[in-house]
């Protein structure tokens, strides 16, 4: 190092040593950063960028402003008190005719149906019937075709559709919606499902976290106390589920929990049960399988903290007259708290995002928020709802991740 510095000072103008050292330091920093830069860019492009795009689609939807341009423009200064005038119906008829020709009416009707369930077939049949109509006036004609156009609700949806940004999906995700006057109101009972789903996700995550702590703590304690030769062997047992993918472990649980599966078989041959218990497609099965899968994630951080606790502390407490349980509880246990916090937080964060296990082991009433994100993306093609639910889940996760970073530090994450 001295060598490099010497050659540099020879070629440049004499500078105070302090400045030179700062420069070297800065150059080293840059060099270190340059090594990380490719990965950082890679993560920003293939990960952060997609996530922000998803967050954006939670509030961005230009279906109506693009496909119904005349109607949304004509509604701009509609006050929402009465039905709009003929001019707006005329614009609607033109838009719908064009949508029918260009085969985009499906998209329009789907978008309207998100906010007004049951309206899709009305929009579609209106467009079909309009395509046979040559000229106006359209107001009476349209109301005759479908009563939908005689109510203010649909016009509220179309008016709000004039903006490319909408709060509808996020509101829906927390069981709110717009009424005909574009005021925010609570969704009616049959549509208000998401608060339940969030609550369920939270409850399952808390239960699993608590269960893994309860089961993991004694084992971590044992592993930390055993001599390395034995503990390394037992460690393989702990690490194996960690290595085997979630899908494989879930598969194993499906096989075990089936009505004709191994667990029911054992319980029935021991005459504990007379008929198979409903374990698969149940909340109990979901929590059981998740606890199994998450156990190593809670256990390992506790174990590594326990390994670093000096046994002399407890010994000192004992020699000062503390009973074994008192010494454990007052001296040893408090020192394990950072490990407990790290393990539980990690498990809790990961639980919030579970998808495969509830999908394969849970019943319809055990589906977590991730399963709804998946269903909206793949089965219903309602990308706005998928993004909105996803954005909420992501925000919650990131907030907890910040807590985790403050408490533990991302650079302390260990594997295996």
């Amino acid at each position: 190092m001295a060598l490099t510095m010497g050659s540099m000072s020879g070629s440049t103008v004499q500078l105070p040593l302090r400045t030179k050292l700062q420069r070297v330091e800065r150059r080293r920093k840059l060099r270190a950063f340059a090594l990380v830069l490719p990965l950082l860019l890679f993560i920003l492009i293939t990960f952060v960028l997609p996530l922000s795009r998803m967050m954006r689609s939670a509030i961005h939807d230009d279906t109506l402003s693009l496909l119904m341009p005349r109607t949304t423009a004509a509604l701009r200064d509609w006050d929402g008190k009465e039905l709009p005038e003929e001019r707006v119906y005329d614009a609607l008829a033109k838009d719908l005719k064009r949508a029918w020709m260009e085969k985009t009416v499906g998209k329009v009707s789907l978008r309207v149906n998100y906010e007004l369930p049951g309206a899709a077939s009305q929009v579609k049949s209106s467009a079909r019937k309009l395509s046979g109509l040559s000229g106006g006036p359209y107001k009476a004609a349209l109301i005759g075709i479908s009563p939908l156009w005689g109510e203010r609700d649909v016009w509220g949806v179309l008016k709000r559709g004039g903006s490319s940004y909408t709060g509808f999906y996020l509101l829906r995700s927390i069981d709110f919606e717009y009424n005909a006057n574009s005021r925010i109101v609570a969704s009616p009972g049959e549509k208000a499902i998401f608060r339940d789903v969030f609550l369920r996700t939270l409850m399952i995550s808390i239960t699993v976290t608590a269960a893994t702590l309860l089961l993991g703590f004694p084992v971590a304690y044992l592993l930390a106390k055993l001599p390395p030769s034995t503990s390394n062997l037992l460690m393989i047992v702990v690490l194996l589920p960690f290595w085997v993918s979630v899908l494989l472990l879930t598969t194993a649980w499906v096989v075990l929990l089936q009505d004709n599966g191994v667990i029911n078989g054992i319980l029935m041959s021991l005459h504990i049960l007379s008929e198979p218990a409903k374990l698969l497609y149940s909340r109990f099965g979901t929590v059981l399988a998740m606890t199994h899968i998450q156990l190593p994630f809670t256990l390992l951080p506790i174990y590594s903290v326990m390994k670093s606790i000096s046994p002399s502390h407890v010994r000192a407490a004992r020699s000062l007259g503390a009973g074994p349980f008192y010494a454990f509880w007052k001296v040893y246990f408090p020192q394990t708290l950072p490990g407990i916090a790290a393990g539980c937080l990690l498990t809790f964060i990961l639980c919030l995002g579970y998808y495969i296990t509830p999908a394969l082991v849970g019943g319809p009433g055990d589906q977590m928020i991730s399963n709804f994100v998946a269903a909206y993306t793949n089965q219903q093609l309602n990308w706005g709802m998928a993004s909105a639910l996803g954005a909420i889940l992501l925000t919650a996760t990131l907030l907890l991740y910040i807590v985790f970073n403050k408490l533990v530090g991302a650079d302390r994450i260990k594997i295996g």
Partner: protein, 350 residues
């Protein structure tokens, strides 16, 4: 966002060239065809009757995938211009056709007589007709359900029921069980009150419902004893009886007969090949072969004559089975699929 997507695109292009170099299996578009079907023994039969003979006759490599009729997948592919499914088998494709997601079928190009295909649609060639029926295990339920109302009767037949996790068929049956005459089912279901009525009837068995998403689960649910009876497709149950020695029985009352179609997603790079395959699979010989493997009525009427008498008696089109049958209404579902699916999913989750 814009600059971001330009960078991403540039990276993507670089990635494409790298992976083109890495790629171990360079496949040209022509000698390859991706066909997507319902999976399970239905697809096994199709493999024997259509895919394998076609592959060996033309030298085309057939890549298979299966789906559960999630039409959103086709929509997403077409809208994002990433169509990788060349030929798809599915039911009730009217809405996708109306939305411009499917190729309009050119019967001249196909070289087939459209008159031989009852139930043909603008974008769809009928592959076969399958019956939605109620199945039960005779070993566990010696005197099974006799009518669709029995399926909804928890007092007479306590226990779990297997049901399709989508609204189709469920809503029709709910109305029939609630006393709507078979001829008026779709008329009633077109009204908001009719839909409410169907959901109300479904409410009565909701707590005993086990939802299946794929055809293969139907026989599995019965075999595992997870349900005492299940809605199913007749071919799946027939196969379980024939090949697994199960004593499953089919109740044909209020069977709902619907077509499976061949369709071509819009924008596939292998359009000609797709036509060639559909023409092949629609020939009377191939269709008769298929019917012998799994008892679904052939889409091509000329195939019926080639089917032997025993197979014919197992088909849904057997007059005995048709006594109280409902023909699935494509037009109704093309209009109402979105809204009823949304309502049904919310209802299920609630």
């Amino acid at each position: 966002m814009r600059i971001g997507s330009i960078i991403a695109r540039a990276v993507g292009v670089a990635g494409v060239s790298v992976s083109a170099l890495l790629s171990a299996q360079p496949v040209s578009a022509a000698d390859q065809l991706t066909i997507v079907s319902w999976g399970g023994n239905f697809q096994d039969s199709q493999r024997k009757a259509f895919f394998e003979p076609y592959a060996s006759a033309t030298g085309t490599k057939v890549t298979e995938d299966s789906w559960n009729g999630e039409q959103a997948k086709i929509r997403a592919m077409v809208e994002t211009n990433t169509v990788t499914w060349d030929v798809v088998v599915g039911g009730s494709m009217g809405q996708l056709c109306a939305d411009g997601m499917l190729e309009t079928i050119d019967w001249n190009k196909l070289g087939l007589d459209p008159e031989k295909f009852n139930g043909r649609e603008d974008c769809a060639v009928p592959a076969n007709a399958a019956a939605n029926i109620i199945a039960y295990d005779k070993d566990k339920l010696p005197s099974g359900p006799k009518t669709i109302a029995d399926f909804f009767d928890l007092k007479k037949f306590p226990g779990k029921r297997g049901l399709n996790s989508r609204p189709i068929v469920n809503l029709e049956w709910a109305l029939i069980a609630d006393g709507v005459p078979i001829g008026e089912v779709y008329k009633v279901l077109s009204t908001p009150e009719g839909v409410d009525r169907a959901f109300k009837k479904l409410d009565t068995i909701k707590k005993e419902a086990v939802w299946w998403t794929s055809g293969a689960q139907q026989a599995q649910l019965l075999a595992d004893g997870q349900v005492v009876m299940t809605s199913a497709w007749n071919g799946r149950i027939f196969d379980a009886v024939k090949n697994s020695g199960k004593h499953f029985a089919i109740m044909w009352d209020a069977q709902i007969l619907g077509y499976d179609y061949w369709v071509i997603p819009k924008g596939t790079a292998r359009l000609d090949e797709a036509y060639k395959f559909i023409a092949f699979a629609s020939s009377p010989e191939a269709q008769a072969e298929m019917a012998a493997l799994i008892p679904y009525a052939p889409g091509n009427q000329d195939a019926v004559a080639l089917v032997d008498a025993e197979t014919r008696s197992n088909l849904p089109s057997n007059p005995e089975h048709m006594a109280n049958a409902l023909i699935y209404d494509e037009a109704f579902w093309a209009d109402h699929q979105d809204e009823l699916t949304q309502r049904f999913s919310a209802w299920m989750a609630n």
